[in-house]
């Protein structure tokens, strides 16, 4: 199949491969060759507009193994973009987002993002995933393709995770350096902000679970569409109501109660994985080859998890 031969016109600028080590933080960089369902940013690489979002970076690779680190962000604007496109119900609280990261066509890791709620607003959440590309994966063409995508949540997590989780997420930063030796895939090991956590491929099957209570998340604001509600007095009133609601949510004491148990599933397929819980120790059978989602057996939205 020869489709693609005629994609070029005489006026296309050639993309400029970036040298290693690469630390990419803007979408306008000439090495950012393709963006798919992503808007290029000036302070960040880009922001995703669809159910999947991808960026392809031209890298002057040597063909040898490299270590790639991707930082993904969830901020106030993310939730605006999401609410404008998804139009959620007015009463559903903001839900954690479970995403899968693919690079060079293969799944590399997964992350769960939840914002920490405060009195006046919510803090941005960030997930950092680092993974190896084996020898030859970043070939002569040197196009590094990073894609954020959604996966169907396991049945026990349905309704507890955000639908269309990728919409609005930011590609904060991508770094690429030559690999010094095989290293395991790593994700963030801070509190996830919700009653879920993700184990990356290659992680230890024995983990220690630490929990802490967090404030509940209020529903997200919806951009008014009606001619009357779009006007200033109405919008000011909505804003005041939202602020009051947020304070009320924040003032509610978070009493998640004791851990309700742990369930596990393969992130990509949703297949259940047997998991043993003894004290604060979680034990999974065998080595972990694909990302695993761990979550509370019953919804405990005011409990944040951290795995160590």
């Amino acid at each position: 199949m020869s489709v693609g031969t005629w994609f070029r016109t005489d006026f296309d600028e050639p993309s400029v491969p970036a040298e290693l080590p690469l630390e990419l933080t803007i979408g306008m960089h000439p090495s950012v060759t393709i963006v798919d369902q992503t808007v290029r940013g000036r302070g960040i690489i880009g922001r995703v507009t669809g159910d999947f979002g991808a960026v392809a970076v031209k890298v002057a690779g040597t063909g040898g193994p490299v270590r790639v680190t991707v930082s993904i962000g969830l901020d106030e604007v993310s939730t605006r973009w999401w609410a404008d496109r998804v139009r959620p119900s007015r009463t559903t609280p903001e839900l954690p987002r479970l995403i899968a990261l693919r690079a060079q066509g293969r799944i590399r890791g997964s992350a769960v993002l939840a914002r920490r709620q405060g009195w006046r607003g919510a803090a941005s959440a960030e997930a950092v995933l680092a993974f190896d590309l084996a020898e030859g994966e970043l070939d002569g063409d040197g196009l590094l393709m990073i894609e954020l995508g959604e996966t169907p949540p396991p049945s026990w997590a349905a309704g507890r995770l955000s639908v269309r989780p990728v919409v609005g997420l930011r590609f904060n930063r991508i770094t690429v350096r030559e690999s010094t030796g095989p290293e395991p895939t790593t994700g963030s090991n801070t509190f996830t902000g919700c009653d879920f956590a993700v184990l990356q491929p290659g992680a230890s099957p024995v983990q220690r679970l630490i929990t802490q209570p967090v404030p509940a998340a209020p529903p997200l604001p919806l951009t008014p569409r009606n001619k009357l509600t779009r006007r200033r007095p109405a919008r000011a009133a909505f804003k005041a109501v939202r602020a009051a609601r947020r304070v009320a949510y924040r003032a509610m004491p978070a009493r998640p109660g004791p851990l309700s148990g742990v369930l596990a599933a393969d992130v990509m397929t949703g297949d259940p994985i047997a998991v043993e819980l003894s004290g604060d120790e979680i034990r999974l059978p065998g080595p972990i080859e694909a990302p695993v989602l761990l979550g509370a057996a019953r919804p405990q939205p005011t409990l944040a998890w951290r795995l160590r």
Partner: protein, 518 residues
């Protein structure tokens, strides 16, 4: 007319227009008339009609008659607010002698009978207004009465000495019947376009073979112009066509009206970039990137049915039959994309129902077109299929082959594979899939060059830049009015491209308005 303009701005504009046209139009010496329609609610549409009509009046001093009005079904389905009084103000500022509320007359008339059968126009109008994917065998009797009333009214009007009919549309009852009557009366029809700066096609009676619809005649003539005037100049125009091809790729110039924003710009430059993206995008739809992927682009199902040559009885039949064929061909993967404006054209959930029917076929994927960026679309599509959609000129310009099951403006220009029977259609699909498996190329360099040259003709060569008609994107309405007011007040009209180009088209009897002599 739908006009949310500032009242003061509107008044200033009308005054400026009135003074301008009073001085720029020679007085009519006899009772010859130019007929112009103002049935569309968008001011920009009617402005184009009036500007072209006045350009003709500069050559042929004549009286201007404006047809307007609104009927309930049109109002309900399409027009949010149509104000005949505003049309009258606008028409009179442009020097109209008469503004006739056609729908008012038709509503009041009882049992007028035209000399020809209007049922085709009536059925297509009914499907459009009821937003149905297929023609109803028995449209409501009132629609038929309206159709007959309109045709009879137009026949009466065309008994006058008519110089030209200027119309923004050529389909449905209120426009289509006027065009039909004009062609029967041997009157030139100028068809203005709702895009770009000023684009218009014209059908002159001496070029009208009366063997097909208005659009069929036009397709043939555009093909002729392209073949004889443009294709021989391809080397000279090479740089310009490349630039247009680049601008179209990054969504500059006339934007593809059916999608906008960041997802409408294409970054892909070569097969290897395409292959890298394809592994990712194919996975999103459960496709195997190694196997051929055919993208079928649904049309707005009730849009202008039966107005150009089509292989299937309706656009819905084409789409349904293609899906049925696809279901039996699992050696290819099929991506069925809905039209982005479908909600305005279909109330029956046609696309969703068809998707449900084929739910069990894993190699058929049905998606709204906004669910996929253009980058992703180009990375997946090995073959495009449409009836008359704009993808059939866009994709070949970048080397993606397209099969057309019907005619469009550009279908005689040799960009796509246009088939002429349903048997040939399925045979071509079959052969193309086999060829894709064999790794054969379905699109030639000549087709790519032709497609890029067509892009140039469509977006540049046949798009006249005149301050009288600001580009379609000059909007909102207050900005538009202010811009034209500045033209009327501050620009001298000598050699205005509006007048020069319309005169050239008129005297040379060319099928389209062109920026420069071709």
């Amino acid at each position: 007319m739908w006009l949310q303009a500032n009242k003061q701005e509107w008044k200033h504009f009308l005054t400026a227009a009135e003074v301008f046209w009073q001085k720029n139009l020679p007085p009519a010496s006899d009772d010859a008339v130019i007929l112009v329609e103002a049935f569309h609610q968008d001011l920009r549409v009617t402005l184009r009609n009036l500007a072209v009509a006045n350009a003709i009046r500069r050559m042929h001093p004549s009286r201007l008659v404006v047809f307007t009005g609104v009927e309930e079904a049109w109002q309900k389905t399409l027009w949010q607010g149509f104000d005949v009084a505003l049309v009258r103000e606008l028409a009179s500022a442009y020097g109209a002698d008469e503004t006739i509320d056609v729908w008012d007359l038709v509503r009041k008339s009882s049992g007028a009978t035209p000399t020809f059968d209007t049922s085709g126009y009536v059925a297509a109008t009914d499907a459009r207004l009821a937003k149905l994917p297929r023609l109803r065998p028995q449209p409501p009797t009132e629609r038929q009465r309206y159709g007959d009333g309109l045709a009879a009214f137009y026949e009466e009007q065309f008994r006058r000495p008519v110089i030209a009919l200027v119309t923004s549309h050529v389909d449905y009852d209120q426009w289509g019947l006027a065009v039909e009557v004009a062609r029967r009366a041997g009157v030139p029809v100028v068809h203005t376009q709702q895009t770009g700066c000023l684009k218009a096609y014209a059908l002159f009676p001496e070029h009208d073979t009366h063997t097909g619809t208005f659009r069929e005649e036009l397709t043939r003539q555009i093909g002729d112009v392209f073949e004889t005037k443009l294709w021989p100049r391809r080397e000279e125009l090479r740089r310009a066509t490349e630039l247009i091809a680049w601008r179209a790729k990054v969504n500059l110039g006339r934007p593809s009206w059916w999608r906008g924003g960041a997802a409408a710009s294409v970054d892909l430059n070569n097969p290897s970039e395409r292959a890298v993206l394809r592994t990712h995008t194919a996975a999103r739809f459960g496709f195997d990137p190694e196997k051929p992927i055919v993208a079928v682009f649904n049309h707005a199902v009730s849009d202008a049915l039966g107005t150009n040559r089509e292989l299937f009885p309706s656009l819905a039949d084409w789409f349904t039959d293609t899906a049925a064929f696809a279901a039996g061909r699992d050696d290819a993967q099929w991506l069925f994309l809905d039209h982005p404006s479908q909600a305005l054209y279909d109330s029956s959930g046609f696309f969703g129902n068809l998707a449900k029917e084929h739910r069990s076929s894993r190699h058929l994927v049905f998606k709204p077109s906004a669910a996929i960026s253009k980058n992703a679309l180009w990375s997946l599509t090995d073959l495009g299929v449409t009836v008359r959609g704009s993808v059939s000129n866009e994709l070949p310009a970048y080397g993606i082959p397209v099969i057309q099951a019907g005619w469009s403006e550009w279908s005689s220009c040799g960009l796509s594979t246009v088939v002429d029977s349903t048997d040939a259609y399925f045979k071509t699909l079959d052969e193309s899939i086999t060829a894709l498996h064999d790794g054969a190329s379905l699109v030639s360099e000549e087709q790519v060059r032709r497609a890029r040259l067509w892009l140039w003709l469509y977006r540049s060569g046949a798009d006249v830049v005149t301050p009288q008609v600001p580009q379609w994107e000059v909007w909102p309405v207050n900005t538009l009015l202010k811009t034209i007011r500045a033209t009327f007040r501050h620009i001298e009209s000598d050699s205005d491209p509006l007048f020069e180009t319309v005169e050239r088209m008129w005297t040379r009897r060319e099928p389209m308005l062109t920026r420069t002599p071709l």
